[in-house]
């Protein structure tokens, strides 16, 4: 391995197991600061087998240990509600949702983004430096929530990662407007949709298989807040969240915000990449009884996410003293819409207390609610939070309509409290 390659690995995240597996003794020598002279006689037990074990506990690069790992291949992890308390989600707190294996090498200087497709006037390729120099930079705080957030509550159960409440985040994203780049390439008048492709690879390790390639209608892509982002909260995007380049389409299922972004296609029809069809990120057009089978053609693509809120303080399980006043606070968001009101209940929804709610810092950013509560007598309580969007739609107290893949559970969030 020459010096240049070593530099590349050292400046980029690199899955350790892969690294150890691929490392020759010469590579190890480079790491140790010298060539290994007697590679043949080097002790065989130097790399313990345990390093290579498949099913082993681990933490995720750049992520808080408090994240709950749902799945370690592909890596998927969610954030417990109390860790989401900051108004702007820190980098190490944001959930991780992977459909495949993240790219093994991320070289920021060589990374390119190509725009093409039937409805593109031309094919054009940009480096990240090109994007930074050619287009104006913008920063927006944008809410990303996995379409399957809350899936774990549905019965009959829906297959997939069993997210509870933690597949949501709202950090600051910096990049260029998707529409500025699309316009620079040229959009034909027949454009209908955009689709993305990323550099992650398929779980089956078949290099010809695309992991996921979703997108949004051209109108959504042309919104001011749709970004091609290279930065999160002023820092590099965490490797697991799509560094060095990703789409950020606030308010829609986060699967529309492609990670490790390398290509965008401007389509003259609804994009048909993997996970655009079938039951993926789609729900039955008409309401169905729980457990009903629905033919694929009767599904529609999920667009805006529904109104929802999360109590981030106190953490569930709090014990308060008699007459102790405490703050209840959290965030609320409503897909493409704004949140009009948030109410909390301490009596299982019999009565509601109106909270103060902030305005969003920009469109598609979550809002913050808070109120002060004193519990009237000793005993067990649940605090429920219910947000209402500007069109008057509120979160349901019980599970919303069942759907086969368990999407869009926006039932009110609840925490348990005891008063002494």
């Amino acid at each position: 391995m020459d010096k240049k390659d070593t530099d590349k690995i050292m400046t980029n995240d690199f899955p350790r197991r892969e690294f150890i597996k691929n490392a020759s003794l010469a590579t190890l020598g480079t790491l140790l600061g010298g060539k290994i002279v007697f590679a043949e006689s080097f002790p065989k037990g130097l790399i313990p087998e345990a390093l290579l074990l498949e099913e082993s506990p681990f933490t995720i690069s750049g992520k808080n240990n408090g994240l709950i790992v749902l799945n370690d291949r592909p890596i998927n992890a969610e954030t417990p509600p109390h860790l989401l308390d900051p108004n702007v989600t820190p980098n190490d707190i944001m959930f991780v949702r992977n459909n495949g294996i993240p790219p093994k090498e991320v070289n920021v200087n060589k990374w390119t983004l190509t725009i093409e497709g039937e409805s593109a006037e031309q094919t054009k390729t940009y480096t990240i430096a090109d994007l930074k120099s050619k287009f104006k930079e913008y920063t927006y705080q944008l809410t990303l929530e996995c379409g399957g957030n809350g899936r774990s509550e549905f019965t009959p159960p829906a297959k997939g990662n069993q997210w509870t409440t933690g597949a949501v985040a709202c950090p600051n994203w910096t990049g260029v407007k998707l529409k500025d780049v699309l316009k620079d390439v040229g959009i034909k008048s027949n454009a209908v949709y955009i689709g993305y492709y990323g550099k992650d690879t398929h779980l089956s390790e078949d290099p010809t298989k695309v992991v996921i390639s979703r997108g949004v209608p051209i109108e959504k892509a042309m919104e001011d807040e749709a970004l091609i982002a290279w930065s999160m909260n002023g820092e590099e995007i965490p490797y697991m969240n799509g560094a060095p380049l990703r789409l950020v389409i606030g308010g829609w299922p986060a699967s529309t915000s492609g990670k490790w972004l390398s290509k965008i296609v401007i389509r003259d029809k609804v994009h048909d990449g993997p996970k655009m069809g079938g039951k993926s990120y789609r729900i039955p057009k008409n309401g169905i009884a729980p457990g009903t089978k629905v033919p694929d053609e009767d599904y529609e693509i999920i667009e805006s996410m529904p109104v929802k809120s999360l109590i981030t303080f106190p953490k569930t399980g709090a014990i308060v003293k008699a007459n102790q006043e405490f703050e209840v606070r959290g965030h609320a968001w409503a897909g493409d819409l704004e949140v009009k009101a948030v109410d909390v209940s301490i009596d299982f929804g019999s009565s509601w207390i109106s909270c103060s709610v902030t305005k969003p810092v920009n469109r598609l950013a979550w809002q913050h609610f808070s109120t002060k509560i004193t519990l009237p007598e000793s005993g067990y309580y649940e605090i429920w939070a219910r947000a209402t969007d500007i069109q008057g739609k509120s979160q349901p107290m019980v599970l919303p309509g069942w759907n086969p893949k368990g999407y869009l559970n926006n039932a009110c969030h609840r925490i348990a409290i005891k008063r002494l």
Binding site: I9, P15, F19, L51, S61, I75, P157, N161, P274, I319
Partner: protein, 153 residues
């Protein structure tokens, strides 16, 4: 100065070179040990951390096959043989479904994820999954489960 014969010189050279080799191997070995104990920071940046000890692939504790986390009931070996190649066993253990539901998942994986034909193993595999990872009726809302009560200050 003592004059050495060519033979003696050769012997000394050999000792010298053997000593050097020994020192190099020792230094490399210690370096290797250091690498394991205190990994360089760029390795810390990696996506996956390391287990401290090797897990015995045969070990079963409290009815759980430790290496995979699967319930060690009749047929779990079939899951080990067929399901761990592409994805984590966590994707199995966190899901619940009926026999029919698990079959649907298997068909989906065969159609889109390159899962092979399970042949005569399919039925016992489905029985294992639906018996040990069958659906629980939780109604329209689950009870809240608090793992840790704490004093709020």
């Amino acid at each position: 100065m003592v004059k050495l014969s060519d033979k003696e010189k050769d012997a000394l050279k050999q000792i010298n070179s053997k000593l050097t080799n020994l020192i190099i191997v020792l230094v490399l070995f210690l370096g290797g040990v250091r690498l394991m104990l205190y990994p360089p920071t760029f390795l810390e940046n990696s996506s996956q951390q390391i287990v401290k000890e090797e897990i015995d692939p045969e070990l079963i504790e409290q009815g759980i096959h430790v290496a995979s986390g699967l319930i060690a009931a009749e047929g779990y070996e079939l899951v080990n043989q067929n399901c761990g190649n592409c994805h984590s066993y966590k994707l199995v253990t966190q899901n619940r479904n009926t026999k029919e539901g698990w079959l649907e998942t298997i068909r989906w994986m065969q159609e889109t994820q390159k899962l092979w034909d399970l042949g005569e193993n399919e039925d016992p595999l489905l029985n294992y999954l639906s018996t040990n990872y069958g659906p629980e009726e939780t109604g329209r809302r689950k009870q809240l489960v608090v793992t840790e009560w704490y004093q709020l200050n």
